[in-house]
């Protein structure tokens, strides 16, 4: 059984846990350093406020250990704020957080809550998926990551090795396909590590 750690500092982490449970994967919450003592096959960084999660990552001493795990190949999936936390650079000169993925994120790229929207988009390797954007970012440029989905000409999903990000929230819809995609990534990583 796949075991996924879900960063639970702030935001919509319970929605990810439910999604994982519906796909038969186990999950546990990461709220402080001792929570990552256990082995995991993957990590999810949920939506919420990236400023809050970034600050708590630093102050709870989780930033370096998680950066090390991700750089060492731990599969990671970031949605919305998670995308911003993983990006190596953020438009507007804001300091990056985990800074492991070769993308540039534009925060609040669609404006305030009145700019939030739902759409259907084509996700490479999956097909059409429902996408919910809540005060969402997009990927303004990539420096090595592969773009997996675009909406309105803007990159909203990308992958680089074992890192997957979406600007939208698959955990807020009924569609489990993006989470399945991530669990497949995690399973492949586990197999290649076992060889």
């Amino acid at each position: 059984m796949m075991k996924i750690g879900v960063l639970a500092l702030q935001g919509a982490f319970i929605e990810h846990e439910k999604m994982l449970a519906s796909l038969g994967a186990e999950s546990f919450e990461i709220r402080q350093l001792k929570d990552i003592d256990q082995p995991m096959d993957g990590l999810i960084i949920p939506g919420g406020e990236s400023t809050v999660q970034g600050k708590l990552l630093r102050e709870l001493g989780l930033m370096e250990p998680l950066r090390g795990l991700i750089s060492g190949g731990l599969p990671v999936f970031g949605t919305c704020a998670g995308l911003i936390l993983l990006a190596k650079s953020i438009d507007g000169g804001e300091a990056p957080h985990l800074a492991v993925m070769d993308i540039t994120a534009k925060r609040n790229a669609y404006g305030r809550q009145l700019g939030s929207f739902a759409a259907n988009g084509v996700f490479k390797g999956i097909g059409s998926v429902p996408m919910t954007f809540i005060r969402a970012p997009y990927i303004s440029s990539t420096q090595g990551a592969e773009i997996l989905a675009e909406v309105g000409g803007k990159a909203v999903a990308a992958r680089q090795g074992n890192m997957l990000v979406t600007a939208f929230h698959p955990e807020l819809t009924e569609d489990t396909s993006v989470h399945s995609y991530f669990l497949d990534m995690a399973a492949a990583a586990r197999e290649s590590a076992a060889v």
Binding site: Q10, G48, E49, L56, S116, R135
Partner: protein
């Protein structure tokens, strides 16, 4: 419109596990964001000062709210008076992220709340029991908070309201389905909402604690009682060291069951808001808008 409602409920989901702080100036907004607030509530006077000043309390100056929108990247909320849909229209026009139709301000309508289904921006409303919560949700609220007793620094009413809601949710959760019709009637809400609570054992929207939270321990208490996040109003900027207290409350909400960490967070916070006990106050804001 139902798409919009869904998106608005979704924004509340993103705020979960976070602390929403009252701020009155751009400077305070910056402090709140740096301390880890997941959103700020822009208002001219914090509830403790509204209480002290007396008189009619209204929506804040849009210019003041815009000043705060300019300096932070997190969501900005603002309050309108209960039933004052024109104030709400103005707040929507300046693209506020969330409107709090709030009992902290003087009610503009003693009978009707705002028909929130007519708006694109989301609304949060206060409630002291399940009936009030479901009535506000039926009117279009996409987030609920306990009323508590704002501006007092006394958590007793927030506790009472949260316990009341949770115990009513548990009671409805254990009912036979054919008993739900009578409950819907007595709560004066549609059957579908009662059925949702019965099936899911929770409100159909996110539920925060508010009104009287002043310390990391207060925040942890509310989270353990079932709150999904916390509003802190007067408790921060009426205290001795707002930065430190705000940051400590943020961490207390994330690790609300770790007593050892809560002990560390509670150290050296400086003077807490003095506060007033509920027996000492003449005006119970929680009695506004049922």
């Amino acid at each position: 419109m139902s798409d919009r409602l869904e998106l608005n409920k979704n924004l509340a989901q993103m705020l979960k596990g976070g602390v929403i702080m009252d701020v009155t100036t751009p400077e305070q907004a910056r402090i709140a964001e740096a301390a880890g607030a997941c959103a700020v509530m822009a208002l001219e006077r914090i509830p403790a000062d509204i209480r002290a000043a007396g008189g009619v309390s209204r929506m804040s100056d849009p210019k003041m709210i815009k000043g705060i929108q300019e300096v932070v990247s997190i969501p900005v909320m603002a309050k309108c008076r209960i039933g004052h849909f024109a104030e709400a229209q103005i707040l929507q026009a300046i693209e506020i992220d969330y409107i709090d139709e709030s009992e902290v301000l003087s009610p503009a309508d003693d009978k009707y709340h705002i028909d929130k289904t007519k708006f694109d921006v989301p609304f949060v409303c206060g409630a002291k029991d399940l009936g009030e919560a479901l009535r506000r949700i039926n009117e279009g609220a996409s987030m609920i908070r306990t009323k508590g007793e704002p501006g007092t620094g006394d958590v007793v009413q927030a506790v009472r309201h949260m316990r009341m809601m949770q115990s009513e949710i548990r009671r409805i959760g254990s009912m036979a389905e054919d008993e739900l019709y009578e409950t819907a009637k007595s709560l004066a809400v549609p059957f579908e909402l009662v059925k949702y609570v019965h099936d899911n054992k929770k409100l159909p929207v996110v539920n925060f604690a508010a009104g009287g939270v002043a310390t990391p321990a207060d925040a942890a208490l509310m989270m353990q009682l079932g709150a999904e996040g916390v509003f802190v109003g007067s408790g921060i900027f009426k205290s001795g060291n707002p930065e430190k207290r705000a940051a400590a409350i943020v961490k207390a909400v994330t690790n609300f069951t770790d007593a050892k960490l809560l002990a560390e967070l509670s150290e050296d916070l400086g003077e807490a808001m003095v506060g007033i006990n509920e027996q000492e106050i003449a005006l119970l804001m929680a009695e506004r808008g049922k």
